[in-house]
Symmetry: C2
Subunit: 112 residues, 2 copies
DNA sequence: CAACTTTATATCAGATATGATATAAATACG
DNA sequence: CGTATTTATATCATATCTGATATAAAGTTG
């Protein structure tokens, strides 16, 4: 996938990525992210979204937090794609909702 | 997949997992890991191994480290499944070798 | 074998992610 | 409406992960 500043699709993607503090350094310009960094952020956002959908069907943020000895605010951040949340936590949360490696792998594949 | 202490497969898996400092707390007993924790470790080990295979075909640890502004020792740890390496770094390294989300997702699916 | 390249191990100061807590905002619902 | 539940935001001390450095060990090649 090529990064093209002017296309409508990339415009939307850029807005999604920049929404929650996803900036590199001080300047918030899409082109300051390498392609690899963009993919990494997209993976995080995809996991976030999938987590939110799964969790909402099953339990509250507080319940999930206690299942994985985390805190409700951290789950909120995870579901909102906050930049301070690691992939590790996202995957731990997915697993705590009962997600299998298959499902997690599919989410990542869906980024491509 | 069920965890069964006495089966030969789990014996082998346990040894793989415990090899590089993967212990919970002070006691190194397989059963102190929750099923979710086991899966998480397995995901890390699978990424480690895949990274090592990909990297070896393409470049040295030093080259990969410089590509992703990391260090050779950290790449060594990543490839050896050291417990101090985050999934985040493993995925960043995979991407730096040119891996796509498809390939990364497949590795995780392979854990199931 | 020796010189060279590559990988592994040890240490550490700084950066980043963490759970906890307080509380505000939003949502559900009687 | 008001009240209870759920989710979001802010702050913070601590734990974990990080790249850097030094150096040892292993592997390669002449």
């Amino acid at each position: 996938m090529r990064i093209n500043r002017s296309s409508a699709m990339d415009q939307a993607k850029r807005e999604r990525i920049e929404a929650k503090g996803w900036k590199v350094g001080t300047v918030s310009d899409f082109l300051e992210l390498t392609p690899e960094e963009v993919i990494l952020v997209e993976i995080k956002l995809a996991l976030s979204q999938s987590l939110k959908e799964r969790r909402q069907k099953l339990m509250t943020q507080t319940e999930l937090a206690s299942k994985m000895s985390s805190s409700q605010p951290r789950i909120a951040k995870a579901e909102n794609g906050d930049a301070s949340v690691s992939i590790e936590l996202l995957i731990r949360a997915m697993l705590a909702t009962g997600a299998t490696p298959q499902e997690i792998g599919q989410v990542i594949i869906g980024v491509g």
